[in-house]
């Protein structure tokens, strides 16, 4: 896709090798402000490797990584966070036995007071948690309730609300809908739209075409470590995407096979 100056983050011809394994091979990719960019691909397509490069876990073997037009090289996930790139991992973002408020501010707790009397600013913590969760459309009555009492979608909302509050410009969501039921998945899709409305760039990783299409502005297809290209939403149909994804052809074949079987049965 065309790289223009408004790109929040951009990969140019990025490759990643693990020994003899070529995990990513010459992938280019860009996200702009207020854009939801879906990354579609079957297992083994290189999605995880791409996320790990974006979130600072791995450095690319070849190619350029630009944040707002400037080349960067991240040494750790902390660097990526500082650059405004927040990754919301599927299960590894919240602690179930801790309260919503404690989770919200974990690692970045606001304090007040001085010297040995420095202590957590609980008024601010509870108020902000309630406000920020409300902006994500979740009404927290009691910020002291354990996160374990929340549903999967609500936990995602917490992770997203937290990332947004702490200044994320780009949100990377790793398979946020894959473990959720239909209703909860739609809640998360709505959250993605909300994050976009607040001016964030969102990278939404999924292997579910039906989750990608309702919110995506741009779709990039990955297959066996290569990019099959980025498409604006109107440029490509669901069927075409399914066909291009590895496994798409298998599904079509399977359908034909099953149809033949049921005809035989009749």
């Amino acid at each position: 896709m065309a790289s223009n100056d408004a790109a929040l983050i951009e990969l140019r011809d990025v490759s990643k090798y693990f020994g003899t394994v070529i995990a990513l091979n010459g992938v280019s990719f860009a996200v702009r402000t207020g854009e939801v960019h879906c990354l579609l691909g079957d297992n083994g397509a290189g999605k995880s490797t791409l996320i790990k490069i974006l979130s600072g876990v791995h450095a690319p073997t070849k190619g350029e990584f630009l944040v707002q037009g400037k080349p960067v090289s991240f040494a750790s996930p902390r660097d990526a966070l500082d650059a405004g790139i927040a990754t919301v991992f599927q299960d590894l973002a919240t602690v179930p036995l801790m309260s919503v408020a404690r989770n919200f501010f974990a690692g970045r707790e606001p304090v007040k007071g001085w010297g040995p009397l420095k202590h957590l600013d609980w008024d601010f913590i509870n108020r902000t948690t309630r406000e920020e969760m409300a902006r994500m459309g979740i009404d927290v009555r009691d910020p002291g309730q354990p996160v374990g009492t929340l549903s999967g979608g609500e936990r995602q909302s917490l992770a997203i609300a937290r990332a947004v509050f702490f200044g994320a410009k780009v949100l990377i969501l790793d398979e946020p809908t894959s473990a959720l039921g239909v209703h909860q998945a739609s809640v998360v899709l709505r959250l993605i739209a909300k994050a976009r409305a607040r001016g964030l760039g969102v990278i939404f990783i999924t292997h579910n075409v039906h989750h990608a299409f309702p919110v995506a502005d741009t779709i990039t297809l990955l297959n066996r470590g290569r990019s099959l290209g980025s498409y604006a939403k109107g440029e490509i149909s669901r069927e075409k995407v399914l066909e291009m994804m590895a496994g798409g052809k298998e599904l079509v074949d399977l359908e034909a096979e099953l149809a033949a079987m049921s005809q035989q049965a009749v």
């Binding site: 602690v95 707790e109 009555r141 374990g148």
Partner: protein, 379 residues
């Protein structure tokens, strides 16, 4: 918690504007209380008190002397339990705690009796050694990624062995007496061995609130300083857990180390600090014992690591980390003291004490498991 969805189709049951969401249940007082980790221990404490009030009411357990006795037992264990509670909330164990007690005691005794160092410097050296041992425990756990159970089991034996070997090498024995005289007049020692509240107790005796001995002195002339340490450390532990960033880090690290790393909590630093805290609590325990008894012994602190873990677990802290409280550990230690002294005062053979504590532990674990499920029940 409810989802505030966009207005849906008319057929969907939508909550009345301004009204309560129909999916939100009233949380009962009981459920709210169950969310506090120390509830079980507080209830257990009352139960144990009630039990001994019925069966040992006139045995002297609840006289001033008896109360101070069981509080002192509780206090010494409670000092360890607070540190162990923080460590266990942080998701780790320290089995070397008991050996550290002997190690620290012997350091103080050898330096003072064999080399003539002033007591205050011996105490400081012992604490410096504790920081090193704690750091080593933490560093090994963090760097190897092995369970702290195994790592500190190793240091349990290493420390105990070194303590025995060094003591016998230098003194030819396993006991080092003669510290009482050396501690007299030392400026730091009273912090660990003194008593306080003598005037207050005399006033109580004069007003007939506590008994007097035949010679006219109150039956208790001072409250051991260990009780002050116990209360102070419990308050400090509670403050750390509930009011500081470090406290939030402890919960996060114990609850899910991966999540903690992902949100930028310095996991390794937190764990190492907690191991240091645990070793320092052992050294405080050692200083109190050595200076009040006047001697050190290589077998001191035997099984204290388990007693502390039992007190902490009875206090509602989860073995898996991420949940618990310092106040709970205080109640756990209190139950320990009451039962130990209660059995002694009732005249039951004290051999039964351990069986009782084991049963308490089992009951507490089952109760904790139940409350945790209640607390984090998905709705």
């Amino acid at each position: 918690m409810t989802l505030r969805d966009e207005p849906q189709s008319a057929s969907a049951a939508s909550p009345k504007p301004g009204g309560r969401d129909e999916r939100l249940r009233e949380i009962g007082l009981l459920r709210q209380a169950l969310r506090r980790p120390e509830l079980g221990a507080a209830a257990g404490c009352l139960l144990v008190l009630f039990f001994f009030a019925v069966f040992a009411g006139d045995s002297g357990l609840f006289s001033a002397r008896g109360v101070v006795n069981f509080l002192e037992v509780s206090a010494q264990l409670g000092i360890l339990a607070v540190a162990v509670a923080l460590l266990m909330i942080g998701g780790e164990f320290d089995l070397s705690l008991g050996s550290m007690i002997a190690f620290a005691g012997v350091i103080m005794a050898i330096l003072s009796t064999q080399y003539g160092w002033p007591i205050w410097s011996c105490i400081l050296v012992a604490f410096a050694a504790a920081i090193m041992v704690g750091y080593l425990n933490g560093w090994l756990v963090v760097k190897t990624g092995l369970p702290s159970f195994i790592v500190t089991l190793a240091t349990l034996f290493i420390l105990r062995g070194v303590t025995l070997g060094v003591t016998r090498l230098i003194t030819g024995r396993t006991q080092i007496p003669g510290m009482k005289e050396l501690a007299a007049g030392d400026w730091l020692a009273p912090l660990f061995s003194g008593q306080f509240g003598g005037g207050f107790l005399a006033w109580l005796a004069d007003h007939g609130i506590i008994d007097k001995r035949p010679d006219g002195l109150p039956s208790v002339q001072g409250i051991p300083v260990s009780i002050l340490w116990w209360i102070g450390l419990t308050i400090l532990g509670t403050w750390i857990l509930l009011q500081t960033r470090f406290g939030n880090w402890i919960f996060t690290v114990g609850g899910d180390p991966n999540a903690a790393r992902n949100v930028g909590v310095p996991v390794n630093k937190v764990k190492i600090r907690l191991f240091i805290l645990s070793a320092c609590a052992a050294t405080l325990f050692a200083a109190i014992q050595v200076l009040s008894v006047g001697s050190a012994d290589t077998s001191r602190g035997l099984q204290k690591e388990f007693e502390a873990i039992i007190a902490v677990v009875i206090g509602g802290t989860l073995l898996t980390g991420g949940y618990g409280s310092a106040v709970g550990a205080m109640f756990g230690a209190l139950i320990f003291g009451i039962v130990q002294m209660g059995i002694f005062y009732t005249g039951i053979d004290t051999d039964w004490f351990k069986a009782f504590m084991g049963a308490m532990l089992l009951g507490a674990v089952l109760f904790n498991d139940f409350t945790r499920k209640k607390a984090s029940e998905a709705r």
